[in-house]
């Protein structure tokens, strides 16, 4: 029996999820050179926002009908927290030593986790997330898990929209200009503060959508879910070349597929039996990161950083 197509589909879904979160790391880094370590928590808050919308709706509402509202509330919550973090935590530190915002980000990450733990009803343990009913879609050569369909569509729509926005619109060009040379972008009349806020907002919105996808996949949301997902997405962003939005998605997909392959096949390699299965997947993911950084430090799609004249 050949289960390679299924494993690939599985890995691509996981990778698309990582990629969507990674966009947030990479956009913020591309513009303000900050690794927003609270991004995993913004992702988590998006998940809880969506759950809140679901709980508001009368019991028995169909999930398909509820989904738009869940996306809306999840995105709104995540964007508010993301933009608030930029405005009140990071912006006052801009221009200061680069370590300060980094430490602030780590502190913010803990604070947001603890806030959900303490104030969201029953969030001290995982809260169940609604599930789609019905089985997998069997396409003959490959079967697609019903809950993965959401992430495929969401990732595709998000990436196409972002790609068009960045390359075709006036604001998108201003965003590229700001990431390449913020001072000169100001000389063109670009309000770079606004561009920075937009980068945080877009990243937060994509993270919220990824959190909903993860909720469907795992059947729960919990206050710590942002930690490992954030770490993986950060890995994906670096893998793809940090600062490059397409790199973030490519890095996510590579990472997801590599994880799925490792889980499925490494145990079959003679002598490696004990390294197969799900418990080693994180080890393989980070091993891949180290390998890529050794061979191609700028990441898969990253460009060598050259000094400005």
């Amino acid at each position: 029996m050949n289960d390679l197509p299924d494993q690939l589909a599985n890995g691509l879904a996981l990778g698309a999820l990582y990629g969507l979160i990674a966009i947030g790391y990479t956009m913020v880094y591309g513009i303000v050179q900050l690794i927003n370590f609270a991004h995993g928590e913004i992702f988590m808050i998006g998940g809880f926002g969506a759950l809140t919308a679901w709980l508001w709706l009368p019991a028995g509402t169909s999930l398909t009908l509820a989904l738009p509202l869940m996306i809306l509330l999840g995105v709104v919550c995540a964007v508010l927290v993301g933009v608030g973090a930029e405005r009140f935590a990071y912006r006052p530190l801009r221009g200061g030593p680069r370590l300060s915002p980094l430490i602030t980000a780590i502190g913010l990450s803990l604070a947001l986790q603890q806030a959900i733990w303490a104030f969201y009803p029953d969030a001290k343990k995982a809260r169940p997330f609604p599930q789609f009913e019905g089985g997998d879609f069997d396409l003959g050569f490959v079967s697609i898990a019903r809950e993965d369909l959401f992430i495929y569509v969401a990732a595709l729509v998000c990436m196409l929209t972002l790609g068009l926005f960045v390359s075709k619109t006036r604001t998108g060009r201003a965003m590229q200009a700001t990431s390449q040379d913020p001072d000169t972008a100001k000389l063109m009349g670009v309000n770079t503060d606004r561009i920075i806020v937009m980068a945080f907002a877009i990243g937060a919105a994509f993270a919220a959508i990824a959190a909903i996808a993860q909720g469907f996949k795992t059947g729960e949301v919990q206050f710590r879910m942002g930690f490992i997902a954030g770490l993986k997405a950060f890995t994906a962003a670096v893998l793809g070349g940090i600062g490059n939005i397409y790199g973030a998605m490519v890095g996510g997909l590579v990472l997801g597929v590599a994880e799925a392959m490792a889980i499925a096949y490494i145990g079959n390699v003679p002598g490696m039996e004990q390294f197969g299965g799900g418990s080693w997947k994180d080890v393989w993911a980070f091993a891949l990161l180290i390998l890529v950084l050794l061979i191609r430090p700028q990441g898969i799609l990253g460009e060598r950083v050259t000094d400005r004249a």
């Binding site: 060009r173 200009a177 001072d183 000169t184 100001k186 063109m188 004249a309």
Partner: protein, 237 residues
Amino acid sequence: MALLEVENLRVAYGKIEAVKGISFTVEAGQVVTLIGTNGAGKTTTLRTLSGLLKPAGGSVSFDGQPLAGVGAHKIVAMGLAHSPEGRRIFPRLSIEENLRLGAFLRKDTEGIAEDIARYYELFPILGERRRQAAGTLSGGEQQMLAMARALMSRPKLLMLDEPSMGLSPIMMQKIMETIRELKAQGTTILLVEQNAQAALELADYGHVMEIGNVVLSGTGEELIHDESVRKAYLGED
């Protein structure tokens, strides 16, 4: 009232004062140049005028309005364009995208298209390579792009910082010719140059800066014949 009036402007990096109280004016239609060695404070002056640096003291008014506390992106909107030192084109955007960013605050789509066509005519190489990433251009071509990009905002005052820096003599001559042409069309220019000879030849008025102060002012003609200027900046014994 002059277009640009700089009064006792002081700029500091931390405790180090890079500009120590300079005053000068630029009248509409004039070309005014600041000359002087490295570290004299010329670039700092321009960066302060365009709002990238905050002054430590003094006052600047442009077109009758004070510039104190106005953000860089709003100063462009008032009509002051700055083509920075080192050209600073956006290397991974195409030439055309660079030009469009120069017109970022303009809404007149037709006027923007006309201006782009005009600068492609003035600098044919830019037109030929319009879809190419700007980072692939040579230094001189990048300088042309940087100047055209600054002009895309249709500024009342164009500030050029070291346009001839690092260029071959032929390219340098070409850039200077272009500036002369812009002047003939009535563009008001504040020019910072290390090539004092070339700058003074085309300037109506010049100021010599030394370690943060203006030490000598006069018409281009006067300065070019001034003995101390000849000794210090024009390489004569």
